[in-house]
């Protein structure tokens, strides 16, 4: 885990770090404004007990780095160059070990075989000195750190016209097979890169790489979901083409990934018909968070007691705006509609990028005109 950013619990590994690992990634640090209030407050409505204490106002603003551009930061404590390096990996994987130690492989560095592994253990800030009981207003989202990284990822992807989707599902829904088939069919139409999230193994990334598409595996260790910080690191290691598709396969889990924004354009939830039609009601947060539901393995419908209409009803009950496509990666049924959906998203990303660039060029022209007028 990165103790500066505090990302990831467990032992996350992202492929692709090299051994020195100064960890210079360009995540903008978010601003943290802390206001220290001194006020006397005899019990509020919500508190079950009285706080009577005085507070001073003194705004302790610790906002970092106003320049919202690339600001490399180190991961203190974690990546100790002097730490023992073990763990030879054929494909130069990177691991932050369990105790904040960095273990990584320096095997033969293959072009794309590079894993990143996070350690664990939160950094604790103990501030000694005098103290006085006081209330500190924070008003920050619990996941604000993740959301700041997600916003940064989203900005970087938008600048390059990349359409990113976050594929979420339960384990065994056929995500990887669907991805492999998607890549195969899109060959020649659009460049694709893949981020593969799993707790362990690089099996899925290996399957994707076999198709020729660049892929990077993120092993979350004990973590049940990908977070935006892991994905930010993964993006630095992937050879992403401008105006391309980025498919992020999240950890197989219909619960936790719903809450973690990775900076994607949207979430796509994959439900296979072997799972039962009531999944949308059982895991409503995920179906609410998604823009599109891919109903996968529909070729098996004749063999199953799966109530298709009920399933679609449940899904729309949770999320009235949910789009649905029925597909089978095995037979190819519905795949064209899915590919068209992806290409439409990519077109939008391209158009938005072109508009941004045009606006920038106009601005440059204006400034040059102003300069010329003065010269």
């Amino acid at each position: 885990m990165c103790t500066t950013c505090g990302c990831g619990q467990g032992e996350t590994r992202i492929e692709g770090d090299d051994q020195e690992h100064a960890h210079t990634h360009e995540h903008a640090h978010e601003h943290v404004h802390e206001h220290w209030h001194e006020h006397t407050h005899a019990d509020g409505t919500v508190h079950s007990h009285a706080h009577t204490h005085s507070h001073t106002h003194g705004h302790a603003h610790s906002h970092g780095h106003g320049d919202q551009t690339e600001r490399p930061h180190d991961h203190e404590g974690l990546h100790d160059a002097a730490a023992p390096h073990g763990h030879p990996h054929a494909d130069a994987d990177l691991h932050a070990g369990a105790q904040g130690r960095h273990e990584h492989g320096h095997g033969q560095e293959q072009g794309q075989g590079q894993d990143l592994h996070y350690g664990q253990g939160p950094a604790h800030a103990h501030a000694p000195g005098l103290s006085q009981a006081r209330m500190v207003q924070i008003e920050r989202d619990i996941l604000s750190k993740n959301d700041a990284y997600a916003a940064d990822n989203r900005r970087r992807l938008a600048e390059r016209g990349i359409f990113a989707v976050n594929l979420v599902s339960s384990p065994g829904s056929g995500k990887t097979t669907l991805l492999v088939e998607t890549i195969r069919r899109l060959k020649g139409r659009a460049p694709i890169a893949v981020v593969e999230g799993d707790q362990q193994t690089t099996t899925d990334a290996d399957r994707i790489r076999a198709t020729g598409a660049p892929a990077i595996q993120v092993n979350t260790g004990k973590g049940c979901h990908l977070d935006a910080h892991m994905v930010g690191h993964a993006l630095e290691r992937l050879a992403l083409a401008d105006e391309s598709l980025l498919l992020i396969e999240n950890v197989g889990n219909l619960v936790c990934p719903a809450a973690f924004d990775l900076g994607e354009a949207c979430k796509v939830v994959i439900l296979s018909v072997t799972e039962g039609e009531d999944k949308p009601l059982k895991y409503p947060n995920m179906f609410d968070a998604a823009r599109l539901m891919l109903l996968n393995k529909v070729d098996l419908l004749p063999h199953l007691r799966f109530d298709l209409e009920a399933c679609l009803g449940y899904a729309r009950r949770v999320n009235p705006g949910l789009e649905v496509l029925q597909v089978s990666a095995t037979t190819g049924q519905g795949m064209d509609a899915w590919l068209d959906w992806l290409m439409a998203g990519l077109d939008q990303a391209r158009t938005a990028r072109a508009q941004d660039m045009a606006a920038l060029r106009r601005r440059i022209a204006e400034l040059e005109a102003q300069l010329a007028a003065r010269g």
């Binding site: 505090g6 619990q9 943290v32 802390e34 220290w36 919500v46 508190h47 079950s48 706080h51 302790a60 610790s62 939160p122 950094a123 604790h124 800030a125 103990h126 501030a127 000694p128 000195g129 005098l130 103290s131 006085q132 009981a133 006081r134 209330m135 500190v136 207003q137 924070i138 008003e139 920050r140 989202d141 619990i142 996941l143 604000s144 750190k145 993740n146 973590g223 049940c224 979901h225 977070d227 619960v255 936790c256 719903a258 809450a259 949308p280 009601l281 409503p284 947060n285 179906f287 609410d288 009803g313 449940y314 729309r316 009950r317 949770v318 999320n319 009235p320 705006g321």
Partner: protein, 113 residues
Amino acid sequence: MHEMALAEGILQVVEDAVRGQRVRRVTEIRLEIGALAGVELEALRFCLDVVLRDSLAEGAELDLDLTPGEGWCLACGQRVTISELFDACPLCGGYQVQATGGTEMRVKEILVD
């Protein structure tokens, strides 16, 4: 949900807030959790107990403000209260309800000394 990750997120927010400040310990943490956020409160309490151990917020009292779920019924064209994402509109009984509020998960304030 991922209560352990949330508990760690809470600790991060708290530690960020007190970093560089003269704080001996955090004695109370007040959270705002929406009814539709998918947070299992008992699990969160349990995880926080574990995560806060050995931090300066160890043993801090937990105050939970629960905010109600809110949705927009497309059919009625108005705001309604719901307690689950799949709830029907209490006015028309239809399911054209898009969740609009009650999904927050925030640290509101902490009591320190």
